[in-house]
């Protein structure tokens, strides 16, 4: 094909004919900003970020749609282009949370808050799970704009989290169209498209159906290509950016698709498509299920050996000795049963072991269950005593066989009835923990490469077999890597073809993997009606619960809950908190009382969704019952006449300062209330507060309402005009710290309401300890109010983040918030 030459920013570039200006620039290593363009998608020209100037061409053409021509003179970085792009960016951003960029406190905030809060709704960039991978954010940060002229138009679309595996928040969408374009490219008929016009344009399925009903195959391509945090993989979303990517293969079915294994800290986050071509697509099991299987709490992690009826955890050496004894005595009566979804190397080595033990190998079709004729046959041989020892790599045979056979060795990765019945269990590696090759049903050979860390004492199967052979004194098993086995493999049949095609229809997803029901480990698969032994978590009936009388989302992510709790309402004092448990399985989480009515016996709380516990609470609807409400707790604020009192509140703190303002005002103080939010649409209760204070001030981080900035700026400006006798601040740790640092310089006594992690909230555990002037105090009984100038803020911040990884793990993976949490391996007694 012929080439052409053109000049971009003075640089001579040679490209093939037919390339766009954008492609030409990319090839020359000149980056032009874009949102909608993607190397694997055809040009679209929607975002208008990639505009360029071309000599002799009027206006500013989009480089992604303009073909490069011979001799073209292109400029990509003029002042006019920068201005234009900034305008475009601002326009793109007007519907998207953006206050972080205009916020004067962004940098200190980011060092203070290293992880995103686990909120379903991203109301600012700091709360977006996609923060580290957001192209948009990247672009704004490089543009260094700190000013927003256009008003923010938050559409307040409802969160879409009723589909399996995906969370969607279209409030973050910039309509770049990448998602539906990739969907169309891969599946022909896209499940999603742009609907409506103008301000209400939105990506959606036809007729706003759920993805489940829309024909979506849950391949996850749209998630991987979306430049923003709109589309999210529910399982991986809070884990951050993968640190390591490697090409491997999924062997959950005989298709053996190529995958990109994304890992962080040795943990598999997801299998994603290795490219954005139709043949790269994965099924929902591979894309979303693999990581959940690999990281399952039901992994086998230590060797178990049966002694006097009980399985005893043992060291590998001891367990191998027992295996040796069990097999040696039964030479000639050994059968090895493995699944077709085993690597070639492992199959080879199982076969070699079977032969060396004068037994034979049975390879079962991958989805086979115990009803397969081969297994029935085996059952008879066991009955007749012809088979006395069994080796298997999954729950592939019937429980009857395992009960009848004298000696059974289960080499497997996951708990099952087989591991429970086995004489000996050896824990093995799976999927991303394995090196080797796999022959797909179409005869292609794919390579698996190990990229994640094996849990506990698990080992790869080929290695386990070599170790067993060593104990048995067998020759021909001196392998130190899977690779060294590969070349010995001579004839290996391809697995039987899988009749269904899970990549084209998620209801065709394989039911089993090595005998295990996949939906037992991937609860989201229940949505496709895959069989499972998981039972829907029968909600413990809440008796003597506390009625939720009213619930409203009064600002995005801020929920007002009015609860019937007379014993709290009758005794509550300003500044106190309650401990709530939505369900019997919930955490005990503290919430400040925003209001109460002793006569009606009700309390009001403002709850911001930031993780599982708050989500459980905000998912309740009026008429539901809360399992537990305990309080009032903590020391109330001592009410005195002090003169001018400045009350500052952010986030839930806006509600929390309300009762304080009311009583301090009644006590004869001049009360100035200041509330802050990222943007004006996130403010609430202005009217209510205005009625109980002398002056209400407002600050927003993006300047969309009131003062540009936060409480910090407010304190400074008030002190210029009048003397403040006392500051009381309630909000996030970062804000309270910043304000305290500031008021210290002004010498204004400052109280802050601290919110460390609590367990009981009654002074019994000490989880809530904070250092105040180097003295340890329990925030739940000695607080929540402390002198802001004496708090050890660094300690508090670090302690508050102590459970971040567990919080991520606690987020439910099922479709319904409440159902299908995997049960843990640790069991309480019977």
């Amino acid at each position: 094909m012929s080439t052409i030459k053109l000049s971009i920013d003075g640089q001579e570039v040679e490209v093939e004919q037919g390339a766009t200006v954008f492609q030409a620039a990319r090839e020359a290593g000149i980056s032009i900003p874009t949102i909608c363009d993607h190397k694997d998608l055809s040009p679209y020209g929607a975002c208008r970020m990639c505009v360029v100037e071309i000599e002799g061409v009027r206006g500013f053409p989009t480089s992604c749609t303009t073909p490069a021509t011979q001799g073209m003179q292109v400029s990509t970085r003029t002042k006019r282009l920068t201005d234009l792009r900034n305008c475009t960016l601002e326009l793109l951003f007007s519907g998207h949370p953006n206050s972080c960029f205009a916020c004067p406190h962004r940098e200190p905030c980011e060092t203070h808050r290293p992880q995103a809060t686990k909120a379903g709704r991203s109301t600012r960039c700091g709360f977006c799970a996609n923060r580290e991978e957001c192209d948009l954010r990247e672009m704004v940060l490089t543009s260094e704009r700190q000013e927003l002229k256009l008003p923010v138009m938050y559409s307040a679309y409802k969160l879409e989290r009723d589909d399996p595996f995906m969370d969607r928040d279209y409030n973050l969408c910039v309509l770049c169209g990448r998602c539906w374009r990739i969907c169309e490219k891969i599946h022909g008929e896209p499940a999603i498209s742009i609907i409506n016009r103008g301000k209400w344009s939105k990506i959606s399925t036809a007729f706003d159906k759920s993805h489940l009903e829309s024909g979506c195959n849950f391949c996850g391509a749209c998630i991987d290509i979306c430049p923003t945090g709109t589309l999210m993989d529910r399982y991986a979303r809070w884990q951050g950016k993968p640190e390591h990517e490697s090409v491997s293969a999924c062997i959950l079915c005989p298709n053996g698709c190529s995958v990109k294994a994304e890992n962080k800290g040795g943990k598999l986050l997801a299998y994603t498509m290795p490219g954005f071509e139709a043949e790269d697509r994965l099924c929902a099991l591979g894309r979303f299920g693999a990581a959940q299987i690999v990281n399952s709490t039901k992994r086998l992690t230590r060797p178990l050996v049966r002694e006097d009826g009980d399985q005893i955890p043992m060291s590998w050496d001891d367990a191998l000795q027992s295996v040796g004894k069990g097999l040696i005595a039964r030479r000639g009566t050994v059968v090895v049963v493995i699944s077709a979804t085993t690597t070639r190397e492992e199959r080879f080595i199982y076969d070699r072991l079977a032969t060396a033990l004068q037994g034979h190998l049975i390879v079962l079709p991958f989805e086979a269950d115990c009803e397969t004729p081969k297994i029935k046959e085996l059952s008879d041989s066991v009955q007749q005593g012809k088979v006395q020892a069994l080796i298997t790599n999954g729950p592939l045979v019937s429980p009857q066989i395992l009960k009848n056979v004298e000696f059974s060795l289960v080499i497997d990765c996951l708990e099952s009835m087989a591991s429970q019945l086995a004489t000996i269990v050896l824990p093995s590696a799976i999927l991303s923990e394995v090196d080797g090759t796999f022959k797909t049903s179409s005869g292609k050979i794919r390579t698996l490469s190990k990229s994640s860390i094996l849990p506990g004492g698990a080992r790869p199967e080929w290695m386990i077999i070599c170790l067993i052979a060593k104990v048995l004194g067998l020759n021909g098993f001196d392998f130190d890597r899977a690779e060294t086995i590969t070349s010995l493999i001579q004839d290996d049949p391809a697995p039987e073809k899988f009749e269904r095609e899970p990549r084209n229809n998620c209801r065709d997803i394989p039911i089993r993997f090595r005998g295990h029901l996949v939906a037992d480990f991937v609860p989201g698969l229940k949505a496709f009606e895959l069989p499972t032994t998981l039972v829907d978590e029968a909600e413990d009936e809440i008796c003597n619960g506390f009625a939720l009388l009213e619930k409203k989302e009064i600002a995005p992510n801020m929920h007002l809950l009015i609860i019937e709790a007379p014993q709290v309402a009758r005794f509550a004092l300003p500044g106190q908190f309650v401990i709530l448990m939505a369900k019997e399985t919930s955490e005990r989480s503290p919430f400040t009382l925003a209001d109460w009515d002793a006569n009606a016996g009700t309390i009001s709380l403002i709850i911001e969704e930031v993780g599982r516990s708050s989500r459980e609470l905000t998912s309740l609807t009026a008429g539901d019952q809360l399992a537990h409400v305990s309080g009032p707790l903590g020391l109330p604020l001592s009410i005195q006449e002090k003169g001018t009192i400045f009350l500052g509140g952010g986030c839930y703190g806006i509600g929390a300062i309300f009762p304080l303002a009311r009583i301090l005002h009644e006590a004869g103080n001049r009360v100035i209330c200041m509330i802050e939010a990222a943007s004006s649409h996130l403010l609430y209760w202005q009217q209510e507060l205005a009625e109980v204070c002398d002056e209400l001030l407002i600050a927003t981080k993006d300047g969309s309402g009131g003062m540009h900035g936060g409480i910090q700026e407010g304190v400074s400006s008030v002190t210029e005009k009048e003397h403040i006798n006392q500051c009381i601040i309630i909000g996030c740790t970062f804000m309270m710290q910043q304000v305290s640092d500031l008021t210290k310089t002004f010498d204004i006594p400052t109280l802050v309401a601290l919110n460390p992690i609590m367990v009981d909230g009654t002074g019994m555990c000490g989880a809530c300890r904070v250092s105040i002037a180097n003295q340890t105090q329990f925030a739940c009984v000695d607080g929540p109010f402390f002198d802001g100038h004496k708090v050890d803020w660094e300690e508090l911040t670090l302690r508050r983040n102590a459970y971040a990884p567990q919080e991520i793990q606690a987020l439910p993976q099922g479709i319904h918030l409440t159902s299908c949490l995997p049960t843990s391996t640790l069991k309480m007694g019977d």
């Binding site: 955890p313 005794f571 106190q576 448990m581 955490e587 005990r588 843990s824 640790l826 309480m828 019977d830």
Partner: protein
Amino acid sequence: MQSKTKPILEKKRTGKQRIKIPRQPMPEQDPRRRRANFEEVPKGYSEEVAILEASRCIQCKKPGCVEGCPVNIQIPEFIREIAAGKFLDAQNTLKKYTALPAVCGRVCPQEIQCESRCILGKKGEPVAIGRLERFAADYARKHNNIQKQPSCSHTGKRIAVVGAGPAGITVAGELSNRGHEVVMYEALHLAGGVLMYGIPQFRLPKEIVQYEINMLKNQGVSIHTDYVIGKSETVDQLMKQGFDAVFIGTGAGLPSFLGIEGENAIGVFSANEFLTRANLMRAVEFPRFATSPVIPHRAVTVGGGNVAMDAARTALRLGADSTIIYRRSREEMPARDEEIHHASEEGIVFHLLTNPIRIVTNERHQVTGVECLRMELGEPDTSGRRRPVPVQGSEFTIPADTVIIAIGNKPNPLIPQTTPDIQTSKWGTILTDETTMLTSKPGVFAAGDIVSGAATVISAMGQAKIAANAIHKFLIGETMGM
């Protein structure tokens, strides 16, 4: 492991035959297995073994064991009933003295109480009284033996019981049996006190505690959980609301810390927090239960009591290499013998005569180790115990990512703080009259750890029993002068 001797039912054995029967061992879960699960360690006697063990008792005329028991259970009587196969009778006998035999049988330090006084112990091994007590209670529970309610007319008197630990449960049971209306208030979301939040599942299954709580409810006791007296009503307000008496059994729930450098680091827990997460909040079933578990890899527990054993053994079961450090020597350890024995069987490492002096942390404020000093035993102190004194220059560091402080709990200060006319000692315990458990405030009684400081289940129940008797007399007007 079981004895070959066949049980001889209904047949009288001679004294000689009895003495020949060895003390029946308790079947236990293999330590190699149980270190990875939360199932109960001792499996309990079978009926045959229980009868055999019971027939070892020679039915002393003046039984020492009864005196050794803080609540003076008529031990020979219930043992005789077990020997005769009348298991439900045995339970009814026990119930006359203790509200919670299934609990006492499991957690009492029998080796220094009843069993230490058993005559057989003089020459050989004492009768396994605790195991038999547990057997009878478990048998009755499994056979769902709902006791006959002593038909008792309502007295019309109301009593508030604050705190639903063993002390509160005992008082509530006793008084409701005698026809008084009992209302219990418990701060946490489940009743049971330390039995629920502190003592782990593998030692005291929570189902047993909840079974007992349900029995109380069936008996007509109303239990308000999530109710903190002193934050909602004060004791005074309770009295004003028409309660004729108030009982305080709020326990010793205020954890002590060492006061050494680094103690607020991430990874340092009070035993209360560590155990509450695992037990009450059931973090061992995370993520089904939402409370984050502590996932220790190298856990160091500081202390030598039951609490320390429980914490160290829980850490072990959560997958850690678990170490205990204790200032004094093994002899001084206040934990039950069985617990120390079980702990070392499970592979917990003991550093005795070792005192922590600093928690070592990294730049993220996370624990990386505990710096310790070796101690040696010096001159005996006033209590006669040889005081540990530091060995100069013996500092060393034990690597750890989790440190659990189990050096004791102080009385809960809330009630004394909010009830000014209840007098307390300098340790914060409530002062009471020993014979009635009456506090300095008329109509208000107290018992358990709030009176004695952190002690034992049975001593709390013993005191509570005294209190219940006194309250009853007070309510029916026999003792007016209070």
